[in-house]
Amino acid sequence: MSLIEAVTIPKWGMTMTEGKITQWMISEGGAVARGQEILEIETTKVTNVLEAASSGTLRRIVLNEGTTAPVGALAGVIADESATQEEIDAFIQSYADRLGSGEDGEAGSPAARSVAVEGGSVNLLEAGEAGEDVVVFLHGFGGDLTTWLFNQPALAETMRTIAVDLPGHGASSPVAGGDILAKIVSSVEEAIRPLAPGKIHLVAHSFGGAVAAAMAARQPARVGSLTLIAPIGLSKQMNRDFLVDFVAAERRRPLLAVLERLFADPSKITNDMVEGTLRFKRLEGVPEALGAIADTIANESGQSQSIGKTLAELACPITLIWGEEDQIVPVPQDKEIPANVEIRKIKGVGHMPQMEAAATVNDAINSNINKRH
């Protein structure tokens, strides 16, 4: 009996319900090796590539380039040469029947919700199995919880997770005036305490890294591990132009030029990502709030925050993940990295490793969480 494998639209991101096929990277009849990139799919955030789960031949393309289909839909069929046309046809038909019978696989994706905190509200997205420890995802400047599109679902397979919209981002209300960073930290702590009373594992990106470091400094016993992706606060150097230009860009083309600096491969940016960012930035009060946060991140002489000392004093496992081609927050020098902190550098990746090399990053997060001291 020949082995026939389905190539289906994957689920990236807790709320993803459909994906658009932008490119088949092999043609019908082409050979496929397990792990080979075969299908480029566009989500609301980025375009990413699906790898073949098995080797064989791409016997049939079921969904063409340009088609949008629900998660789980059959896009193509991989099989070895011994499978007959009839068997392929029957497989495709059985797939259609299975989906048609209402066996959707994922009935009811988790939805983000707002929790009240002093002075406003924090939007967050929970997912994953019930458990004592919780993974808390903190995005970076100008981003939102969908930064973790390719990471939260993977971690949610084995742990409870919470992805947060930082104050002033996504659907969370802004904080203003005074010590912005401290206020952000307070709001986040207040929002997650009732949901994660026990140990938390912080996974943070860029500016979120400073938030995570501050949270760990305030409650070291509570933090089980710290995984920081290109965090601010370790070296003096920083591309402040990025912050200034990001806040200033009011139209699509200038904003696209800014977003391109985030990725080693700018073709990953989708139109929806640009449009989504524009819509966020247009909201009343957002440019001012972002400007205030930008000021806490860097000034003319470089980075304003410094987390090295905080990290050096923590006992929990700490791993840094960095793209070697990061144009925004360059890889710190060895002497700027505390001795108790591990660093994993990824080749060919820019300031968004969690999206550009999601599988590698997810592995690194899991390893760090499971380290025992």
Binding site: E65, T68, R252, V274, E275, R279, L283
Partner: protein, 335 residues
């Protein structure tokens, strides 16, 4: 984020800006809708319900029902703008612009220029437009081409609820006369609209959908038609980029040129009549500036050169359809 109708998005914008800026006033026919059967004013909010609740919130000094006299109240609105108010005047059906064209074309549009920059006219004229409601030739025209032609006017045509709110807020805050055109068949369409205020700059097209085989430029209600055509084309292996200019004056030439350079095949969909239209205007621009990048003639999908019919079947034949767009695309794409 809440899903709101096009109508509700506009109502949101009007409420928000009238609350924020006391200089904003409104005038037009039946803005409040007159007294209801039980004598309650503001029962109606206009024939399309867009201005509901504004009288109650802001009072009769700021929200004024006018007599049926466009010449008078559009002229009054233009004058009010000159004195420092920020009036939003409504022409119930854009077809009635014929009655007040002097006030728009010769007065409001030219004040700033003729007074050497020493006057500004922060006037918004909202008007409904478009066919599909069985209202006959004098209540269904699409006249954005006329207004785009006149220097001194800005012309805004939102295609969806999100854009409607952002563009209307921008229009009210703009210091120049803005013609804000609302397709009457879009009022019930629904989309995600933030509760907070936000503005969308003029002269900024939206890439509705990315694609590489053909660029479909569409205006107002035709954006939805183009999107539907693009979806059907995708299932036939043709990848269409859909662009919504949002404002025909100022026009986002940069985006239109950039996309045309990249793709080389263009279809323009516009509900207006075809002679001397925004469609022919854009076509000429692209033909001039992207001649070497074009791989095929620029195709225009428009209404015929005819008044809008009253008979339902003829009115339906008048309006450009997704099928007509697909046909035009296929005539210039190799597959």
């Amino acid at each position: 984020m809440a899903k709101k109708s096009f109508r509700q998005a506009l109502n949101d914008a009007l409420h928000a800006e009238m609350a924020r800026d006391p200089r904003v006033i409104m005038m037009g026919e039946d803005l409040t809708g007159g007294a209801g059967a039980n004598g309650v004013k503001d029962a109606w909010g206009g024939p399309f319900g867009v201005t509901r609740g504004l009288l109650g919130a802001f009072g009769p000094e700021r929200v004024r029902d006018t007599p049926i006299s466009e010449a008078a109240f559009i002229g009054a609105a233009a004058g009010a703008a000159l004195t420092g108010l920020r009036p939003i005047a409504e022409i119930m059906f854009v077809d009635f612009a014929g009655v007040c064209l002097d006030q728009i074309m010769n007065q409001a549009a030219k004040f700033r220029y003729m007074f050497g920059g020493r006057a500004k006219t922060p006037l918004v004229i909202r008007a409904t437009y478009g066919a599909g409601s069985r209202s006959g030739s004098q209540h269904t025209q699409a006249l954005h081409s006329l207004f785009t032609h006149i220097p001194g006017l800005k012309v805004v045509i939102p295609s969806n609820p999100y854009d409607a709110k952002g563009l209307l807020l921008q229009a009210i805050r703009d210091d120049d006369p803005v013609i804000f055109l609302e397709h009457k068949m879009l009022y019930d369409t629904v989309g995600e609209v933030p509760d907070a205020s936000y503005t969308i700059p003029f002269g900024e097209a939206r890439v509705v959908r990315d694609g590489k085989d053909v660029a479909i430029i569409a205006i107002g209600r035709m954006v939805g038609v183009a999107e539907e055509a693009a979806r059907s084309l995708a299932s036939e292996g043709i990848s269409a980029c859909v662009l919504d200019p949002r404002t025909t004056s100022p026009l986002d030439e940069d985006t239109l040129l950039e996309v045309t350079e990249k793709i080389g095949r263009v279809v323009i969909v516009d509900e207006a009549n075809p002679r001397c239209s925004v469609a022919t205007d854009i076509s000429a621009l692209l033909a001039d500036q992207c001649f070497d990048a074009l791989k095929a003639p620029i195709k225009l999908v428009t209404a015929p050169h005819s008044p809008v019919p009253y008979a339902p079947n003829l009115e339906d034949a008048y309006i450009p359809t997704p099928a007509a767009v697909m046909k035009a695309v296929k005539s210039i794409v190799k597959r």
